[in-house]
Symmetry: C2
Subunit: 338 residues, 2 copies
């Protein structure tokens, strides 16, 4: 297991878009985050104490998390001295990159020499069985989306915490690197061998008590030209009873792919249900989660009201408003805590 608390490293990042791992940890496990560190050319500020590895270790940190996704997924050479410095200061390293830290000789050598651990949370030596689609006991909710990077993880985290606060047995199930760092466990579903996507998802939310909720972080989008295979395998393996659609109101096409148009929400939900019912005929949407971060307060509420009026579902923004309405509806459909 990964040793907490964390020092968050944002490298040479110039903007917040590539550092969602760092922001995710700051927002969702603040008790496990002790400070931030960056390279001299970096510009991202998490609003945390700025500590170098030695100071962070002295303050109690046990691991440094690479909280930035570099363009292309490979780790730049210019980060290496900083990463080695963290190992020398007594910190383990935690990475969600496709490149394995353990495959970089300078890091492997330093970790071995110093007795530190390199956590490559995107990778796993675990193997998974093929999926079967056989019904498992327990209740499952999956956050799905109209694109990547618009709030599926935060939606699942907020709902898992909200259900737990109302007395339900509920577990957040992480499927991406940030989620795994937050939860301390999970499966990086996009790194699994293609044949075993659904099987890995089945393993992630095993049979549970009938009243137990697994609240599962979704990945990608059914309409994403690159990642829909991951999305569909995760959907089938999760066999969700309840679905929550995550959307960013001003996004009309998949980010960076202007030819990949996002369908209207009703059409999106129809297609998710078509797919979900392969492994759970009772699947239904219970709420819509809007990422209103680019809207002012009035516009955010207006957007939520419009979506509720059109689709007859409670609408919330997990960072802003409406969670209780969504939880009320979930309890109305599936029952309150016993």
């Amino acid at each position: 297991m990964i040793q907490k608390p964390y020092l968050l490293f944002t490298g040479d990042a110039l903007n917040t878009r590539s550092t969602k791992t760092a922001f995710g940890l700051r927002d969702w496990v603040p008790e496990a985050v002790i400070g931030q560190w960056r390279l001299p050319e970096g510009r991202v500020d998490l609003g945390l104490p700025m500590l170098d590895p030695v100071a962070a270790h002295a303050a109690g940190a046990r691991s440094m998390v690479i909280g930035i996704a570099p363009f292309g997924g490979a780790l730049p050479e210019t980060w290496l001295p900083g990463l080695v410095a963290a190992l020398e200061a007594g910190l383990d390293l935690v990475s969600g990159l496709h490149t394995r830290l353990s495959a970089i000789p300078a890091l492997a050598e330093a970790a071995s020499r110093l007795g530190r651990t390199l956590h490559d949370v995107r990778h796993s030596d675990r193997t998974f069985p093929a999926g079967t689609g056989e019904k498992r006991s327990g209740k499952r909710l999956l956050a799905v989306g109209t694109d990547c990077a618009l709030g599926k993880k935060y939606t699942a985290l907020a709902l898992a915490r909200g259900l737990a606060a109302r007395g339900h047995a509920a577990d957040f199930r992480a499927t991406g690197q940030t989620g795994i760092m937050i939860a301390g466990e999970g499966v990086a579903i996009d790194a699994v061998v293609a044949d075993f996507i659904a099987g890995a998802a089945e393993t992630l939310s095993p049979a549970a008590a009938p009243e137990h909720w697994d609240v599962i972080e979704g990945q990608g989008a059914l309409f994403h030209p690159a990642y829909a295979g991951v999305t569909l395998g995760l959907l089938h393996g999760s066999q969700p009873d309840a679905l929550v659609l995550c959307h960013e109101p001003r996004r009309s096409h998949i980010e960076d792919l202007p030819w990949a148009v996002i369908p209207p929400l009703g059409e999106a939900m129809r297609r998710y249900l078509d797919a979900a019912r392969v492994t759970n005929p009772a699947a239904r949407f219970v709420a819509i989660s809007l990422n209103t971060s680019r809207l002012d307060e009035a516009a955010a509420h207006a957007a939520a009201a419009d979506v509720t009026a059109e689709h007859g579902l409670p609408v919330f923004d997990p960072l802003r408003f409406g969670l209780d309405g969504a939880l009320d509806h979930i309890e109305a459909v599936y029952g309150a805590a016993q």
Copy 2:
């Protein structure tokens, strides 16, 4: 590249179901197949000369293909003496199993000592980019199905050869281990890391001349609880203009998973088109391929007539009848060879 011709090994297989690799090679590259070999307890007969590795090598064989998929995907210990004997007789080994031959010490040692090559066609050291969905030039046809193991590979092979025979520039694009052994190249799409399924499919059928056809072997089914992620990523990355639906008339549920019901063909095609149009809005079905192997001649023709009447598409069985009607329709839609 894999050295031909082949000796086909069927191990201890008792029935034809687990030996479709061997039958596929016998049927589709008979000129590259010199004989068969099996263990004493094996019962499958390919109707080829029975040759042990020494006799096969003397007759010209250069590789022995493991033409059997063992239950669970792992290679039984009891096969090892026979595989080592093949290496000692001068044959390379070709495997489509999940288990790598090169990971089995006895085989790795013998191959190294004897200068033989171990081909693990399901695996690849190639890495692939993420998909983009950007439109590529050239025409593409993808065989999709209502389940695994009902004729997608044979359908694509028959159409590729039929188009070529009519003067079209056409390439069969292999996505599974048997297809790769037949074609001599391809990508085992189910062994790719999940994030790169669509990207691998994009790589497999690169931009080509406008009149060129890539005829792509499909995998799995959109309704398969284990493998739909592979199916969808391959569909998106292939961005097919033309789709052919492959079906086995008496199959009502996914093989071995009785709870996974196959939808009616019209519904199946609607869902494939929903998905295909993410990367090619012009995608359409051009034919239906029926696996009529379990029907007598009259029943096979009656089934084909029923399906044509209901769906208004030419119907064929690539091993039996109707290929010309399907090719006529494809040429009516997309044009005859120039």
